[in-house]
Each structure stands twice: as structure tokens, then as C-alpha cells.
Amino acid sequence: MTHTVSIEDSGVRYACAPQESLLSGLHRLGLRGIPVGCRGGGCGVCKVEITGGEFSTRAMSRDHVSDDDLAQRRLLACRVYPSSDLSVKVIGKLQKKVCTPAADR
């Protein structure tokens, strides 16, 4: 069973399976310029804020996720797995890529 991930302020929605990270689901959409980095929670390029829904995580580098980030659910998309439909805000390096029309990217 897959869940639907909605990216706020962009109209982008995609299906993501529970065993698939938010980043790999997003990457599958083929949006140009999505910053796919290490995919292992080490480099910090894929930060998102989860604004609604349930999910599980795997270990991610605390160099890029502070206590405050954890409390605010600002996490690395390559280490977040949906367990319900999710709404997500893209922040940091992802924001420009997802929320800018393809022609302007």
C-alpha cells in the first residue's frame, strides 16, 4: 500500500510506499534539479519539514538535524518513510527546486 505525499505551496503530490524514502519517491517524479545527495542521511541536502501525518525514520546525521529540528519535524527526506498520507514543506536547498516552475529552474 502506498501513501500520498503532498508538498505544500507547490501542488506537487506523489505516491510513496512505506519502505521507500520520501526522497526516492520525490526523485521518481523526475523534477529537474532535485538535490539528491548521499541518500544515507549524511550530507543534509534533502531537508524537509513534515507538517502532517505519520512516518518512521532511520538514523540521520545530527550535523544537519538539531534538537530543535527534531522537535519541529525538520528531517532529512532520504531517511523518512511514510506510514500515512503526509504533508511536507520543502526547506533549504530543496525549496528552490520544487517550488519554482520548471522553466525557471
Binding site: 538535490p35 548521499c38 541518500r39 544515507g40 550530507c43 532511520r58 538514523a59 550535523d63
Partner: protein, 309 residues
């Protein structure tokens, strides 16, 4: 003997987010040989053809990246001399007692102005490569387990003050500059490749605002064919691949960049030209950095400049 002073890269200690997942990756996918675990929980590896006890050590931590990178020096007198030379140059050094790392003698440790911790040591237990010293076979069965590189070859580290780092390696540690990429204004070096012997590089640095970052640790393959085989094994195991298989313009080495399960980049590397210390440095202008990185595609992949651990 012509090769004296600093002989070669000897070890890297890298932080991982999940120890057992990483052990499985380094042992069964990369195909390193596990040589021990210590009371701190660190796991020690070497490449199949390396003779010393360890070259790659991992430890579980809450962040990825590199703890330190170490070089083997010729002997104890060399270690003492380089320690004194580093101090005379104005760097603080520290002695880590023998045995703090398994199978490893006393280490001299110092921190570069780029934020990286570098170590020197003169002694590491010779465990051998599983092939007898008399009438040796050219390889052992260990060569076929996983990607199975032959040795830890070099590292590329990202941090500030590369010009200062360059001076320390050339003026104190006896390295020479093999290749460099100029900054966009052509006035400085954006990246430097340094050798302490006749390898195309033993360590490299690139200018980056955050200190102490790891770009990659590199493992040597025996042929281009073995690099392609490494790529097959990465895909079979869903390893996150960054760039390649391709050939660097800088060094002429054949390469794949990929990431370990914690987001530490590593490289499977083959080839490169063989410089001597009297050779002139090869220079790449910044607008040709794309060819320097990926010669056939002439592409300055964004991840090369922005993704580090």
C-alpha cells in the same frame, strides 16, 4: 632507499550512523576484510592485498564524516623528526599511545587549518595479505569477495585554508603538488592533489567554508574492468552511486563515486599517471573543472561541489 619520510596513507577512521549495517556494507559489498573490533566498539578493516592490520576503521556516531586520516612514515626516527618539524612550524601535536588503535603503534596527531585531524605513525602489525612471502601467488580468494579493492589509496577532504594546508604538506611533510584547479579568479587554488611518493595523489584538498569535511576515501582497483565490476556490484546492492564509471581529467584516474549507508562518499579508483617530485604541477583553470572531474562528459556535477559528510 629513495622513498623516505611519509610513505603512504595508512588509515582513515570514519563515522557511521548504524554500525552493523555499515559492517555488512564494508565487508560484503565493498569487500574489505574485517580484522578486529575494540573495546570502544570500533570495527577495523583492511583491503585484501594490504599487509598491515588495518586501513579503514568505522565507529558508530550520531553524525557521519571522518575522524582522522593517518599516514605511515618510514620509522620511529622519522616520526620523531616530523613531530619536531610540525611543532617548529607552529602546529600543536599530540602523541596517542601505541595500542590505542588495534595493531597500531604510537601516533602523532595534529589538526590542519582546514579542520582535519591528521596522524603519522611508524608501526602497524603486519598481518599479511594471506599470500606467502615465499613463492607468492598473484592473488588469493579474497580478491573475489565483493568489490574487493587492493588498498586504501587516498582521500579528498573539504575545508577552509587550503593554501595553508598546501604549505604544511609541502614544506613540513615532504609532499609535492601534482595537480591543482585554480579559483575562478585564477589567483589561488580551489583544489590541490598532493603526493608523497610516485602515486598521482596520496591526499587532496578542496576549499570549502565548513571545516573538517569528508569528500571521499578512495580505494584502488586493479583495472578499469574491475571498476566496471564494482559498478555492477553497487547496482546489485542498491548502493547510492554519485558519478561514473568515468575517467577524471585530473589525475587521469578511472572512477566511480558512491556513498556508504551513512552518506560517506567513497571511490573505486584505478590508474592515474605516475609523477616524480621534479615534474611540473599540472594546472586546470576553473572553467575546465568539468573536464577535470569527468573528462568524457565534461561535466562539473553539482554534487561534487556541494555534497560532503
Amino acid at each position: 632507499m629513495a622513498l623516505t619520510g611519509v610513505l603512504r596513507p595508512g588509515h582513515a577512521q570514519v563515522r557511521v550512523l548504524d554500525l552493523e549495517e555499515s559492517v555488512r556494507f564494508y565487508r560484503d559489498v565493498l569487500g574489505l576484510v574485517e580484522t578486529g573490533r575494540d573495546a570502544q566498539g570500533r570495527v577495523y578493516f583492511k583491503c585484501w592485498d594490504e599487509r598491515d592490520h588495518n586501513s579503514y576503521v568505522i565507529r558508530e556516531a550520531d553524525r557521519a564524516g571522518i575522524d582522522f586520516f593517518g599516514f605511515r612514515v618510514l620509522d620511529q626516527a622519522t616520526l620523531d623528526r616530523l613531530d619536531a618539524d610540525l611543532k617548529a612550524y607552529g602546529l600543536a601535536t599530540e602523541r596517542i599511545p601505541a595500542g590505542e588503535m588495534l595493531g597500531t603503534g604510537e601516533r602523532v596527531r595534529f589538526t590542519l587549518p582546514s579542520g582535519h585531524v591528521i596522524e603519522l605513525y611508524a608501526d602497524k602489525h603486519k598481518v599479511g595479505n594471506g599470500i606467502p612471502l615465499v613463492n607468492p601467488a598473484p592473488w588469493s580468494k579474497a580478491r573475489d569477495h565483493g568489490i574487493a579493492p587492493v588498498r586504501l589509496d587516498h582521500a579528498l577532504l573539504y575545508g577552509p585554508n587550503v593554501a595553508e594546508v598546501h604549505k604544511i604538506f609541502t614544506e613540513v611533510l615532504g609532499f609535492y603538488l601534482v595537480e591543482r584547479v585554480l579559483t575562478p579568479d585564477g589567483q589561488g587554488n580551489a583544489a590541490i592533489w598532493l603526493s608523497c611518493g610516485q602515486k598521482v595523489h596520496d591526499i587532496a584538498f578542496a576549499e570549502y567554508p565548513e571545516p573538517g569535511k569528508l569528500h571521499h576515501c578512495s580505494f584502488l582497483m586493479e583495472s578499469w574492468d574491475q571498476v566496471l565490476r564494482a559498478g555492477d556490484i553497487m547496482s546489485m546492492n542498491q548502493v547510492a552511486v554519485d558519478i561514473g564509471p568515468t575517467r577524471h581529467g585530473v589525475t587521469r584516474g578511472c572512477t566511480i563515486y558512491a556513498w556508504d549507508p551513512s552518506g560517506n562518499r567513497f571511490e573505486t579508483f584505478f590508474g592515474g599517471h605516475l609523477p616524480y617530485p621534479d615534474y611540473e604541477t599540472l594546472t586546470w583553470t576553473f572553467d575546465n573543472f568539468g573536464q577535470g572531474l569527468d573528462y568524457p562528459q565534461r561535466k562539473l556535477h553539482e554534487t561534487f561541489l556541494t555534497v560532503v559528510s
